[in-house]
Structures are given as structure tokens and as C-alpha cells.
Symmetry: C2
Subunit: 158 residues, 2 copies
């Protein structure tokens, strides 16, 4: 396995498989090519024998110089539980630290229990929202009507 | 009329009206809150009497230090043909120049003739794609299957 930075042509490989990797959820439209073009230095691909088996799309906030943001992470269904996510996160944390960032932010849907468990285990705190869902603090309608979100923040200095 | 920078709470006002401003096209999902949170310095709101009547979401490319990118621009249907887009673009160009950017990039769908005419009139060149649609050069499947795009670039130094 090998980690490298994203290039814009990776979009053509990844976009058609996203819905499949997400178990049929229609997610591809959430990741337009723009993310593969303008955030190469903070976005990573995991490859095995020339095949893409995981990716992380992230960028540095341009509103808050201390913050790096993880937007989208996907791992090929056949390659889960092999710490590929962990290695992609690690590459992103390193890039963020190298650039003097202090906090990593990310978010997920309250239904995505795997993502919530993963972030909690990886040292992310859950931000205080306005309600609780299954014991997790949630921001109601954060991403539009009916689109509640759990917000994560990791302090790189701790 | 007054121009100011975007704040994350503008999302809650703008997101619910996007589909309406786009004449019923389902566009709101193309603009998640993340754009309102992390790109405040390069994104602008036009207000009149406290009401939002236009907005521009843009950012600086993190892959190419010379490039600033315009992602999404919308004007309230009742306020069109009043040069609101022009003023929002102007604010973005100024911010880009102030930060030493050399090129502005943007893209649109080939069906969006208004956008193509607007960018051409505003000094954007159309990039050479792989086919022509109604005399305009287009990149086939640029944003996924069936999602052809026209790519614009403006040279700020010319």
C-alpha cells in the first residue's frame, strides 16, 4: 500500500465508485471535481497495485488559520478494517501540523455511528450542539432542513 | 445596497431559497454549509435593507497559489439586471488581487448560456475542451457522467 497526494484526474476514477462504496447511498454529487482540483496538498489517495482503495479530501480553512478540515473520506468496501482510514488521517494530521494548524475539524450525520465511534477513538471531541441523539450532541438542521450533524474537533497540541 | 463578507449563519438564510432562485432547479445540495464556514474572506453577500439579495462563494486554490476560484454565485430573481453580480465579482477580483493571485477560474454547464455570456463579457476566456456545443468549447463529463462543463479563466494581469 502506498499513500500519495490527490491529482485532479483521480476524480474520474473515484466519482463513479462513490455510491457503491457508500452501500448505494447517493453521495457522488456531494463531491464535485472542484475538491480534486484545488486541494491537492491536503488530500490523499491510498493505492494498492495501482488501484485506488481509499481517499481523503481535506483542506485548510481560509477563515480560521488555525483550522484544517476533513471533508470526505472513503475506503473501498473490500479493504475495510485494515487501518487505511487511520493512515489517511495520519497523513492529513502531519500536513496540518507541518503548516502550523492547531485544530482538525470534521462532521458527520448522527446516523453514521461508525464515523462517530471512529472520530471519538481518534482523539476528536464532539462539539456541544443543541440536542442529543442516542447520547451524542447534535446540531439540528446544520446542513439544511432535516440535515442534522455531529461536529468533531481535534486539538493537535494535546 | 451594501457588500460584506459571508458569515456561517448566512447559510441558514441562503440555503432554503437557492432552489427558488434557480427557478426550481434542485441546487441547494450543491452548496453545503462548509463553504460558508471556511471561505469567509473570499465570499461576499449583497444586502439591501437587511435582506440578502445576492451572494458569491469563492476561495483561493490551495493547489495553485496563483489561482482564485469562484464556486457559486446567486442573485435574487427580483434584483437581476441591476449589476449585483458585477459588484460581487468585483469584490472577489479585488480580494484576489490584494492577495497576489494572477488568475480567476470558474465553470458552468453548457446549457447556462447566461453564465457563458456573462463570463465572456467580463473578460474570462473559455478554455479549450474536447468538443464544441453551440460553438462553445466544452469538457465532456468534467463533473461526472453527463455533466459537461465550460471552464473559464481570467488573467488578472491583462
Amino acid at each position: 500500500m502506498k499513500i500519495r497526494n490527490v491529482t485532479s484526474s483521480d476524480y474520474d476514477i473515484i466519482s463513479p465508485v462513490i455510491n457503491e462504496w457508500w452501500g448505494g447511498r447517493q453521495m457522488a454529487h456531494m463531491l464535485p471535481k472542484v475538491f480534486f482540483v484545488h486541494f491537492n496538498d491536503t488530500s490523499f489517495i491510498m493505492e494498492q497495485k495501482g488501484e485506488i482503495i481509499g481517499f481523503l479530501i481535506g483542506f485548510f480553512s481560509q477563515s480560521d488559520q488555525d483550522v484544517a478540515y476533513i471533508h470526505f473520506v472513503g475506503v473501498h468496501p473490500d479493504y475495510r478494517k485494515q487501518h487505511i482510514g487511520k493512515q489517511l488521517y495520519s497523513a492529513f494530521f502531519n500536513e496540518a501540523e507541518k503548516n502550523g494548524k492547531k485544530f482538525i475539524r470534521a462532521l458527520t450525520s448522527p446516523v453514521n455511528k461508525t464515523s462517530i465511534a471512529y472520530h471519538t477513538k481518534s482523539g476528536f471531541a464532539i462539539e456541544q450542539g443543541d440536542k442529543e441523539v442516542d447520547g451524542v450532541s447534535v446540531f439540528t438542521d446544520y446542513d439544511g432542513e432535516g440535515q442534522d450533524r455531529v461536529l468533531f474537533v481535534k486539538d493537535l497540541l494535546n
